[in-house]
Amino acid sequence: MLSGEAPIKIMTTHQTSRLKTFVGGIHPEDDGKHLTREKSEVTAVVPKTAYLLMGQHIGAPCKPLVKKGDIVKKGQMVGESQGFVSAHVHASISGKVMDVVPWPHPITGAKSPAVIIEKTEEDSWFDDGEQPVAFEALSSDDIRRRIQAAGIVGLGGATFPTHVKFTPPKDKTIDTVVVNGAECEPYLTCDYRLMMDKPHEIIQGLKLVLKCLGCKQAHIGIEANKEDVYNLFKDILLNDPQIKIDLVEVKYPQGAEHQLIKALLNREFKPTQLPLEVGAMVINVGTAFAIYEAVKFKRPLIQRIVTVTGDGVDNPRNFLVRLGTPIKQLLDEAKVSPNISKVIFGGPMMGIAQGKIDTAVTIKGTGGILVQKGAQQWESHACIRCGRCIDSCPYGLNPSELSIICEAKEFSLAKESGAMECKECGCCSYICPAKRPIVHLIKFAKGEIVKQKAK
């Protein structure tokens, strides 16, 4: 946009106390980001075999379109979405379909159908794509259709199908699109890397989002530990009245919808409500980039940046990973040490610990793989009522009381006390000096409450 002009120096000083933020939250002293932050090189990984799960999103799993023995090419649709809330899955490599079998899902643990492709062909696209299109020619529906065709889901980790999100109910208006560039989850730097490498593309993607939603303004939130990103974007957006950008305080969960909207727009809504209630919508920078690729080049979502980090790997770094890559290959590339004790999909605060490395494969929502060598285990004690969990809860719950209620299996009381409002961000468990597994207990109770409701 402004590439022809000389970059303008922006004041880098800011007062920490003036930074926008929310009430509550935590910040680990060592957020582990330094492990991968300065490694600017993003290594592309092409797996020999890709395991494409049909359920990589929130909603109904896809129906496999291919069968054993078929030859598929990169970008070819192999799973068709079923129902409204669902997103297509595309082949991430070119090759032969080895099998279509149930495969363990890294997040839910349950087996769901997967298309297994072995790389036998040259790595070329299914269709050569079109010439890049002029955005002006595209209508709102065109953009949404292309997003849907590309199988894009929320890449911040929630994996909600993006085209569904961009079809808000008629009675709701969205005045601001909030862009999450906070990357508050410790250890992960995949969004940081993307923002540093592809700022123009992200902004173009964001403009497409604005057009698609018929929305006039956008607001980007960047955590203050990424001031280089902030300055980079600020330079690009200098003459752009549509898109605002602000530094926000370094605090977890700053990137969560409620907290980011509170910090940037000072609007509050209930934990059970969607940002639509306050006329806002949050998208992740990774999603904005994927939208750009999908709309401009008609490229489906088949790869993303994944941070492989932790003390269990000798060479932590960011990888450009094809969907369905066995994590074993990523761990080998990152020089995994022989005696690891924990492998986590996602970051340390909300990530899911894996039971087996052999079967775990990446999905659309996988932003990081954290490998711990001497994973600590904590013995929990009775609550000593210090109140730190209450101070840290960004949703105004009483985690101390909730955990005791859930431990006693008083599920109806747990529901009354707000168990269903819990977003499982993990601040309470993190801060608890008695090392109580608060989130674990609440998750368990939530499961039971849902089960009882279903009866």
């Binding site: 340390p348 990530g351 610990a353 711990q372 105004g396 009483n398 993190y430 597994p437």
Partner: protein, 341 residues
């Protein structure tokens, strides 16, 4: 509870989050012990090494009682002892006793604190009252003569000496008996401000040196083991009530707010007792109500009761009210009842 499961290929599977804060119960408890050291040193100077002996006995009795009860309750003994909570109770109890108590008083007190006050309600985290203060109240009833009179202090030239040393007639050799700063009896003396700060005034073992207590208190606030607004509100309420309440007994210091803050057990209570996490409310609002209530009760007891000091009972009363305060000070669920700007 078993929230960790080892899989066959020895990867740990546990619920998120996978990192935890460095603060733990033992860290906090030993931090509190550390913060109590300055007051201990001050007491050794003005009351002699006998007070150290009382502190030691009190801790020993507390730890032994804890081990005994844990054994009875079939709970892990060693790992629980290491958390330091029994040691904190032992020290705090000793600090609320006169420097010349017989050896069995802290022993009985600690035993009562741990077995009755702490463990009959379920142990650390479940007790309703601060164990040290409840034990102190118990001792006050059980041994009224030793607890309420005989306030000794070493002669200024006999610092570090033995406060218990007597000659053949039972006359004190190195120490004298004097009235405590807050005594309301006729002929009670008024102490100078500097004396109250340093702590060379008669009183309980750990309560006399304002400087030592403030040092420990500020350390706890700096470490965030206690909330700054609890001692602040507590002391502020006593300060202002002392300024304006009409006294029942007209002493020279009756309406001197500074005297009320630095004399007696207020600082020890405000920084180390009222801030006990287990027995105080959970939320900020609740803690402020708690501190204000304790401050008001302390002032009322000091002004209008037969006791010279009200810190102990005021905190115990507010401990009792804690569940009620918690009920009325629930945190606001995010997004509900949004305040209009």
């Amino acid at each position: 509870m078993a929230d960790q499961v080892k899989e066959n290929n020895s990867l740990i599977v546990s619920a998120s989050p996978h990192i935890r804060d460095i603060d733990s119960i033992p860290r906090i408890m030993w931090g509190v012990v550390f913060s109590l050291i300055p007051a201990g040193i001050a007491s050794t100077v003005v009351f002699g090494y006998y007070s150290l002996y009382i502190v030691f006995l009190s801790c020993l009795a507390a730890v032994c009682s804890e081990m005994f009860v844990l054994q009875l309750r079939k709970l892990p003994v060693l790992s629980t002892i290491k958390d330091g909570s029994a040691v904190v109770t032992g020290i705090l109890l000793a600090y609320t006793l006169p420097p010349s108590v017989p050896w069995y008083v802290p022993v009985v007190g600690s035993f009562f604190a741990i077995t009755i006050v702490k463990h009959t309600f379920g142990g650390l985290g479940n007790n309703i009252w601060n164990p040290a203060l409840a034990a102190r109240a118990f001792l006050q009833v059980a041994y009224p003569a030793t607890i309420n009179s005989d306030w000794r202090i070493l002669n200024p030239d006999k610092l570090f000496h033995n406060i218990m040393k007597v000659d053949a007639d039972g006359k004190l050799l190195d120490a004298v008996t004097r009235a405590t700063p807050l005594a309301k009896e006729a002929g009670a003396e008024t102490y100078r401000f500097a004396e109250l700060l340093i702590g060379n005034v008669p009183g309980c073992i750990g309560e006399t040196s304002a400087i030592a207590l403030l040092l420990g208190g500020f350390y706890l606030i700096y470490k965030r083991y206690i909330k700054w607004y609890v001692p602040t509100c507590y002391i502020a309420v006593v300060f202002f009530m002392a300024m304006f309440l009409p006294p029942r007994v007209a002493t020279p210091w009756a309406n001197n707010p500074f005297y009320h803050v630095f004399a007696g057990g207020l600082l020890l209570g405000a920084f180390f007792m009222a801030t006990d996490m287990v027995t105080s409310p959970l939320t900020k609002k609740g803690l402020i109500i708690f501190a204000v209530g304790a401050g008001a009760l302390t002032a009322l007891i000091r002004f209008y009761s037969g006791y010279p000091e009200g810190v102990c009972y005021s905190i115990l009363l507010m401990n009792t009210a804690t569940p009620l305060i918690d009920r009325f000070t629930k945190p606001r669920l995010y997004g509900s009842k949004i305040k209009k700007v």
